[in-house]
Subunit: 186 residues, 2 copies
DNA sequence: TTCTTAAGTAAATCACGATTTACAAAACAG
DNA sequence: CTGTTTTGTAAATCGTGATTTACTTAAGAA
């Protein structure tokens, strides 16, 4: 019984555990407040291993953010109901890790800003731009990100009452309309 | 000539110089990267004076943000052309200190988050809410802040090409429409 | 002028966290 | 088994920056 507790030493597994813990902590706390001590403790590992397996805290952050950013979330929605579907997704109780807080937190540290811009561009902006197509595709993709970022900033990071917990149908509707307007604007 | 250089010691003037420098530095750099050394150097003062005149770095930040937040910027616009006017203002080359980057930076530091939420609520959200009136005024005010915050995050903090420098008329238009929609949505 | 108080400075203190180092224990190949 | 390599740990190191302390200098009143 409990064979899981009889863990042998396993570098790959440890590395993965640290990465998962990093995603959780980095999306819950500002980069500067997310200490390697906390992350490795959550992973049941030792702070020194970050250096060995990832090189540095910044590299760990980069990999954590990179894995978390996923354009598919956005580009799988049907075009005609994009706003509605995405607004629903945004206002649902999140199960998976949300990359937006990590982006916001990354905004507040010199070293992580460049990483965030690069990853956001590669992994989300470009794919959304390609999906959205038509005129001014890049600007429209950016606009979608901006709407999402503003919303999650005040939902998850600097909580404002109207965006916390269950949001009103009106907020959802306005969000949906803004998003749909951008998608249709070509 | 140059009477200005013959500065006598003057606590009030020094305090003010530090406060102004703080506004500049805090809106240009993440809170953690904005050192008191840099701020006081810019003010031509000594780091120890922050403690004397403001109590702590956080208190200095609080006062700097508080002075910078100004709902009047938003609530002076004519209602029917709100979106247009504000979009113009947002995309204009800023002269005065912009509080939004400070808010974004504050979002990324445990100690300043609470301060930011409180000041934002008192000094901007409530006034805008009162000005906007009608149904769901609080939610609509929050929505306006969210749009502004998303936009400036990618204009001034994590620069994305479509929002940098001179923005295209389209971006301006979409911004204006989103904002106007919220104002009219009662 | 002299004395007191306010303003300013330089340097120590203190805390904290990332990174490194030197070491110990386990895995595993032969 | 035995020796080598990999994985993991504990404890220094190192830098940084806010805050405090002790001190110096200027201002202004008596």
């Amino acid at each position: 019984m409990e064979a899981r507790d009889v863990r042998k030493r396993d570098a790959a597994r440890t590395r993965e555990a640290i990465l998962v813990a990093a995603q959780q902590v980095f999306s819950a706390r500002p980069y500067g407040d997310a200490s390697l001590k906390e992350i490795t403790a959550l992973a049941g590992a030792n702070p020194a291993l970050v250096s060995r397996y990832f090189g540095s805290k910044e590299k760990l952050f980069e990999e954590a953010l990179s894995e978390t950013l996923d354009a598919g979330m956005l580009t799988n929605a049907p075009r005609e109901r994009f706003g509605e579907v995405i607004a629903d997704m945004f206002t649902a109780r999140a199960g998976r890790i949300n990359p937006l807080p990590m982006l916001v937190f990354a905004a507040a540290d010199k070293g992580t800003q460049a990483i965030a811009v690069r990853l956001l561009t590669e992994k989300t902006l470009k794919p959304v731009e390609a999906w959205i197509g038509g005129a001014h595709a890049e600007a429209r993709a950016a606009q979608i990100m901006a709407i999402a970022t503003g919303f999650f900033t005040y939902r998850l990071v600097l909580p404002l009452a109207p965006f916390e917990g269950e949001v009103s149908p009106e907020v959802k509707t306005w969000l949906a309309r803004s998003l749909q307007m951008i998608v249709d604007a070509d």
